[in-house]
């Protein structure tokens, strides 16, 4: 007799029959019927109608039947809460059963029934079970607390279960400890700030003891919990590491990976010169390699993690290249990951082997894999200079195979090789040109066009080649169109006589027939450049390009650190922080590696960034966001002007005010083009390309509508808000920006602090504002003259003008800013105190004040309270004057000082104020009158800020 027959009952009236059978007197028949019900439930049929009948079978001595009924209950209790109550009695009774297996079963199942009324009844039995004499019951009860917490967190806290759970960490049975740790860790995740786990050296010691004794799964729970602990100093860190290392020989890969996580994290705190540090590094490699002989799915998890480990500590696996060689019958997901790691480990020492392997892979069947292999060859060429020549010849061999996607991929990487080693491998261009017709992917076409344009003078029929692309101009993707435009202009500048017609054709295609603003704008720039000053055009378009650096899409350091803390988990598989794929509050907490703190004196500073960049700076590769971004940069790059001697007007942007199209276009173009990844982080000698003069504000015609105010020579003491972080490094690939605004000697200044938390040098900073309420715009370029090295901080003061384009923002003082550097463009918004717009000549004549006050309708008046201000009227008045709020008159009525004040904003708006100050009363009343009542709220905020600081 087998159970499979239960799956096959599909006749009608089935529910009715089952009902009858469930109510049968014969035990055997009942059991049969429940089995049928469970089978139906499994395949997704709704058998909830049988609820009362199934629950009736619960009262039984037969454990097997009981388990089946419980299974049913867990599934349907939620949909039938009222009837589920019927089961409570049995549960409560079972929790008292002499058989520990039944007690545990009852408490385990009860926790899975998510019905409020039942949870109430659960508390008492659970409390007993947590203190049960049998460890099997206790370990089940420990997990039950987590279940209950998931249903009703408050109840768990109120009932004091958390304390009982904490006590279980000291239980004599290792499995109880492990489950308690698991439950507490889970609960702690949803209370990020609670000190629930309360890890201290004593509790850590208990955990480490239990670690040696519990099941493989328990070891995982404990290790994962240990990884959240931050040891006090390097000694403690070392002693924990010593006790965790034996786990590296466990047969369970998850135990090994969790141990690796703990070690990777705690190692961070060990001084590098310590012998133990070296020993530990050596111990890590063999188990990681062993993971690769596990089943393929685990290999995949391991490889994704090794990818992180190799980025963080390349020294661990640098001699293990061979184990990452792809096997013929590896699943594709393993192959792709291995390939990635191979490139990361490629170095001068092993490049010959790597190349031989990559060449083999490039002839395989799987298209994705082959493409990646070809791309990898290109990456090797860029990474290891000595191998470049062999890489190029390998790529040429591959092009000879004429396999379409291989050819296209090869051309894309050869373009990068040209960029890295200019004037070295141009002899291969002829071979490339032969394959022009087979290119059908935009990326490959764009790359080929770039090559033709760049080396136009060496290709006899460059004009014909480019012309052939031009025929289908409008069917090309933007990428190709832009490239084609640039390439033809380059060609024209190199061979002006023969190609005039061609260049006119492409310019008119780009400017007149295209809907794409980027293309049109670029077309206009070229057009104007060529028509006004061909020499300048040559300097711009044919400028020498900065070199590209090693192209390996490394993970941004702050993210990498976080992911290292998540080794073994899904986050490390996805290479994304948990917040990217986990809903709700769980696991959203960002984890960081601990800083290095020496117990002795004079150790390294505990700066996280420093710890991250720990391996000597020259080894630190620069970071390039991703393939796609990089390509975009590369393609646009050829437009870059020769360093600082750009032909663009350097200071006052006003003269360009009339050239509407050029104005906008140029700016966006300039914005695009200054990005280029640069070589060698930490090499100060690398040429810095400064966009110094590129970002002169381009004032709109609107400027003159507004008062260009700004007096000179003012008393000190204007209120400057403290600096706040506007752009966290997490969001900006390592660039952190904090700042504030100040008005100094009549000049509005944006005071910025730029900190480079990435591992690469940042250069080419530029800033731009979105249109804003008061027309704020940078009055000059962002003066960052030296490249910003890793961990460097620079303070910059950016003078602002108020003649930029205007658009009302909400809130009024909101400012949207774009900052770019060689890596990317970042956006953030900040709010400026409106007080910096108060001009110095804002003191109104008394008479005018009176007239104006009357003139402004009462609807425009708003009243505010300033609380807790302990200045007298005199002091307040002085303080306010420092921020250009001028007291015009003072009146005292019944012990109450009335101060009348005026403010003038940079755009000419007047704000009139009446401040009531009563001696002894810390609360001021302020009335504001203004023709533009929107500003009142902001002005009030300024009052508050100024008076209270």
């Amino acid at each position: 007799m087998t159970d499979s027959k239960y799956f096959t009952t599909t006749k009608k009236g089935e529910i009715f029959e089952l009902k009858a059978e469930l109510n049968s007197d014969k035990k055997e028949k009942k059991k049969e019927a429940v089995k049928k019900v469970i089978a139906s439930m499994t395949v997704g049929k709704d058998v909830s109608a049988l609820f009362p009948d199934v629950v009736n079978c619960m009262q039984t001595d037969n454990l097997e039947l009981k388990k089946l009924v419980y299974l049913y209950l867990m599934n349907y209790a939620k949909s039938q809460p009222d009837m589920a109550i019927m089961a409570v009695n049995t549960f409560v009774k079972d929790c008292e059963d002499p058989n520990p297996l039944i007690r545990a079963l009852a408490v385990r199942t009860m926790g899975c029934i998510r019905v409020d009324k039942i949870t109430e009844y659960l508390c008492e039995p659970l409390r007993k079970c947590l203190k049960d004499e049998d460890p099997y019951v206790r370990k089940t009860a420990a997990v039950c607390v987590a279940k209950l917490h998931d249903i009703n967190a408050q109840l768990v806290e109120d009932q004091g279960f958390l304390d009982t759970l904490k006590d279980l960490i000291s239980d004599s049975n290792p499995m109880v400890v492990a489950n308690a740790v698991a439950a507490l860790s889970e609960i702690a995740e949803s209370h990020p700030n609670s000190n629930l786990l309360d890890l201290n050296p004593q509790s850590i010691n208990k955990l480490l003891t239990a670690l040696n004794e519990c099941t493989e799964w328990g070891q995982i729970f404990i290790l994962d919990c240990l990884a959240n602990y931050t040891p006090r100093d390097d000694r403690e860190s070392q002693s924990i590491c010593e006790r965790v290392t034996p786990r590296l020989s466990h047969a369970n890969s998850a135990v090994v990976l969790s141990a690796v996580k703990v070690l990777m994290k705690f190692m961070e705190m060990l001084p590098k010169d310590l012998d133990y540090y070296g020993t530990l590094l050596k111990k890590l490699a063999p188990p990681l390699v062993t993971l690769l002989s596990a089943e393929p799915e685990l290999q995949y998890v391991a490889l994704r993690n090794i990818n992180l480990i190799v980025q963080k500590r390349p020294e661990i696996l640098k001699h293990e290249m061979k184990v990452f060689f792809v096997k013929y019958n590896d699943p594709i997901y393993v192959k792709l990951e291995k390939l990635d790691i191979m490139i990361r480990l490629a170095s001068q020492a092993n490049i010959a082997q790597v190349l031989a392997e990559l060449k083999e892979y490039a002839t395989e069947v799987d298209v994705d894999f082959v493409r990646k292999a070809v791309r990898a060859i290109g990456r090797c060429a860029i990474k290891v200079e000595q191998s470049a020549e062999r890489c190029v010849s390998t790529l040429l061999d591959l092009i000879q195979t004429k396999v379409n996607y291989v050819v296209q991929e090869a051309i894309v990487v050869i373009k990068d090789i040209f960029r890295k080693y200019p004037n070295k491998y141009e002899s291969v261009i002829a071979t490339l040109c032969e394959n022009l017709d087979s290119l059908d992917e935009p990326e490959a076409r764009a790359a080929m066009i770039w090559i033709v344009g760049e080396y136009a003078e060496r290709i006899d029929n460059a004009d014909e080649l480019l012309e052939s692309f031009l025929e289908g101009f409008h069917d090309e993707s933007t990428q190709v169109q832009l490239q084609l435009l640039t390439a033809i202009v380059k060609l024209f500048l190199k061979k002006p006589t023969e190609t005039q017609e061609l260049v006119q054709q492409v310019l008119s295609l780009a400017t007149q027939d295209s809907d794409n603003p980027d293309l049109r704008d670029r077309g206009y720039i070229y057009w104007r450049l060529l028509s006004t000053d061909p020499v300048a055009a040559k300097e711009v378009v044919l400028a020498e390009k900065p070199l590209i650096s090693e192209e390996t899409d490394l993970i941004e350091p702050t993210l990498l650190e976080e992911l290292i803390c998540h080794i073994g988990t899904l986050a490390s598989v996805y290479h994304k922080p948990p917040s990217a794929f986990v809903e709700g509050s769980r696991g959203v907490m960002h984890k960081r590696l601990p800083a290095r703190t020496g117990s002795g004196e004079g150790t390294e500073c505990p700066d996280v960034g420093n710890a991250a960049g720990g391996s000597a700076p020259e080894a630190a590769p620069s970071i390039i966001p991703s393939q796609g971004d990089l390509l975009g940069d590369l393609l646009n790059l050829d437009l870059a002007p020769p360093t600082t001697t750009g032909p663009t007007p350097s200071t006052s942007g006003m003269q360009m005010g009339g050239m509407d199209l050029l104005g906008g276009g140029l700016e966006s173009l300039l914005f695009n083009m200054v990005s280029h990844p640069k070589m060698g982080a930490g090499f100060g000698a690398a040429p810095a390309v400064m966009p110094a003069s590129l970002n002169a504000p381009v004032g709109g015609g609107l400027g003159d509508l507004f008062d260009l105010g700004g007096g000179v020579g003012m008393p000190m003491g204007a209120y400057i808000p403290p600096k706040t972080v506007w752009l966290p490094a997490m969001k900006a690939k390592g660039l952190e920006i904090s700042g504030t605004f100040a008005r100094r000697a009549g000049v509005i200044q944006m005071e910025l602090v730029l900190t480079n938390k990435a591992m690469s040098v940042m250069t080419d900073f530029a800033i731009q504002f979105n249109r804003n309420s008061f027309g704020l715009a940078p009055a000059g370029p962002l003066q960052v003259l030296t490249p910003l090295g890793p961990n460097q901080t620079i303070e910059v003061s950016l003078p602002l003008s108020t003649v930029g384009p205007v658009m009302k923002m909400d809130p009024l003082n909101n400012l949207q800013v774009a900052v770019k550097n060689n890596i990317d463009v970042f956006y953030f918004s900040c709010q400026y105190p409106i007080s910096m717009l108060f001009v110095e000549d804002g003191k109104m004549e008394r008479q005018v004040f009176l007239a104006t006050w009357k003139d402004i309708p009462n609807d425009n008046e708003s009243q505010f309270q300033i609380q807790d201000c302990h200045l007298n009227s005199e002091a307040a008045s002085n303080k306010l004057q420092g921020s250009n709020i001028f007291t015009i008159a003072k009146r005292t009525v019944e012990g109450q000082d009335m101060l009348y004040m005026s403010i003038k904003l940079s755009n000419g708006i007047w704000v009139l104020a009446e401040l009531k100050v009563q001696a002894g009363n810390p609360n001021y009343t302020i009335s504001l009158k203004c023709r533009a009542p929107e500003v009142s709220q902001c002005v009030f905020q300024c009052y508050e800020a100024v008076l209270k600081n």
């Binding site: 087998t2 159970d3 499979s4 499994t42 395949v43 997704g44 097997e64 388990k67 419980y70 299974l71 058989n99 297996l101 998510r114 460890p135 099997y136 019951v137 279940k147 049975n173 109880v176 489950n179 889970e186 040696n212 099941t215 493989e216 799964w217 994962d224 006790r243 034996p246 786990r247 020989s249 466990h250 047969a251 369970n252 998850a254 969790s258 188990p287 062993t290 089943e295 799915e297 998890v301 391991a302 060689f325 096997k327 013929y328 031989a356 392997e357 002839t363 395989e364 069947v365 195979t401 073994g568 988990t569 899904l570 598989v573 996805y574 794929f581 986990v582 809903e583 769980r586 696991g587």
Partner: protein, 429 residues
């Protein structure tokens, strides 16, 4: 933690569905079927994220096992658990097939309830599980039995119960190695490693304390100088992992392998070596293209071990191009056949002694094609079995102590066997 566990047949029909967490709904069952089992393209990853839900899957024959979660779980643990689940099921009812799963679905639910609580894996040692979850319904247990069960399930030695008795104390040790090779056409070793396992089958009474010794270089060098015993050579083990019964901290400190074994069979240890590997066979390929429609292939294999030993089940697989129209084979030994469906010539030799050489030559006729893509020339692969350990590993001793019962180490009958098999043993041509 694991939010749910589903088992599907090859059509994507659900055979087992157990949900542990509230955040996993019934639609997750369908999401996996639609996006993975019925996906048009071959699955590119064993972890799939569909609408913020992560699915982990493994396949056994044509059965899919999928674990589902919405949290940032320990991914390695989930896969280890799925494998373990397969082991447990196999231990209970044999092969994992649709029929077996349907026949045992009640049992599987019972197991799932026991070994996964709220998504946290619990004791999953079959030895322990079988004491209280059986296919034949639960026997009524006495009170002592009950507490014995619970203490075993949660105890320090969760893999062995007390009170085991055998009339004859006996143990079998199998050293099973798989030797992997990737060789260039010129005979250069690109990569070679042995991954080995020591499998122990023990029938011992009581709670025997065992100590296992092998010719580990580190141990031999430590004791070495006395010149006593160490007649053979020692081997350098790159890395090894142990069954959970082995005391890891003791191994870490003293490099001694001591344990109380589970009753019956267990995989005591896994190891990996890369140095001084004895490659049992060498394959020398020679492929010549004669014009566009003909290939000449000659392959020589040489056996490289003691002439007194015999290799078995030798199979050489020579890939042929897809456009092969006919093949003529001549071989000196064994049988060779062209298998069109597998695109390969398969050459089988039943037995071959050490230090011998054999050769096969074939002429392959090709159909002319206009396919530009070159034939990828997959490597020539080999299968075989040899009665020694290619890593050079030797078992030096396995001592058994059971102080409470009156049998000594000498009374235990011990058997040791070495089997070396080919893993991925390939030579590029």
């Amino acid at each position: 933690m694991i939010g749910g566990l589903f088992i599907y047949n090859h059509k994507g029909e659900v055979l087992i569905s157990r949900v542990y967490r509230d955040d996993i709904g019934r639609n997750a069952v369908d999401a996996f079927r639609v996006n993975v089992i019925h996906a048009r393209q071959q699955v590119r990853s064993p972890v799939t994220n569909i609408a913020r839900t992560s699915f982990f899957h493994v396949k056994r024959s044509n059965i899919w096992l999928a674990a589902v979660t919405k949290q940032n779980v320990n991914a390695a643990m989930v896969f280890e658990f799925l494998y373990k689940m397969c082991d447990v099921m196999t231990a209970y009812f044999g092969k994992i097939s649709e029929e077996n799963i349907k026949n045992n679905f009640v049992l599987i639910y019972e197991l799932l309830d026991e070994i996964l609580d709220f998504g946290y894996p619990q004791n999953s040692e079959t030895g322990a599980l079988k004491t209280f979850i059986t296919q034949t319904g639960i026997k009524s247990q006495s009170k002592e039995e009950q507490s014995q069960i619970t203490s075993q399930v949660t105890g320090q030695i969760g893999w062995r119960r007390e009170g085991i008795k055998y009339r004859r104390n006996e143990l079998f040790l199998d050293v099973l190695e798989s030797v992997n090779l990737l060789m260039s056409p010129q005979g250069q070793v690109l990569s070679a490693h042995v991954s080995g396992r020591v499998v122990m089958k023990s029938y011992l009474s009581g709670m025997p304390e065992c100590k296992f010794g092998m010719n580990d270089k580190i141990v031999i060098d430590k004791q070495g100088k006395g010149g006593e015993g160490a007649t053979g050579q020692s081997i350098a083990i790159d890395d090894c992992t142990f069954h959970q019964c082995v005391r890891l901290s003791k191994f870490d400190a003293e490099r001694s392998i001591s344990f109380i074994p589970p009753d019956g069979e267990c995989e005591l240890m896994r190891y990996r070596t890369t140095k001084d590997i004895i490659l049992p066979f060498r394959v020398i390929p020679l492929v010549r293209e004669v014009g566009r429609t003909k290939l000449e292939v000659k392959v020589v294999i040489k056996s490289n071990f003691k002439p007194s030993l015999l290799a078995q089940k030798i199979e050489v697989r020579i890939p042929t191009p897809l456009n092969t129209s006919g093949v003529q084979v001549i071989c000196m030994k064994g049988k060779a056949k062209y298998k069109a469906s597998e695109n390969a010539i398969v050459w089988k030799i039943k037995r071959m002694a050490g230090m011998k050489e054999s050769q096969i030559s074939a002429e392959i006729e090709l159909l002319p094609t206009n396919d530009k893509k070159k034939w990828a020339r997959p490597p020539i692969s080999m299968n075989f079995e040899v009665p020694f350990a290619p890593s050079g590993l030797k078992v030096r001793y396995l001592k058994v102590f059971e102080p409470k019962l009156n049998y000594s180490d000498h009374d235990v009958i011990k058997w040791v066997r070495y089997i070396g098999r080919s893993g991925i043993y390939e030579t590029r041509c």
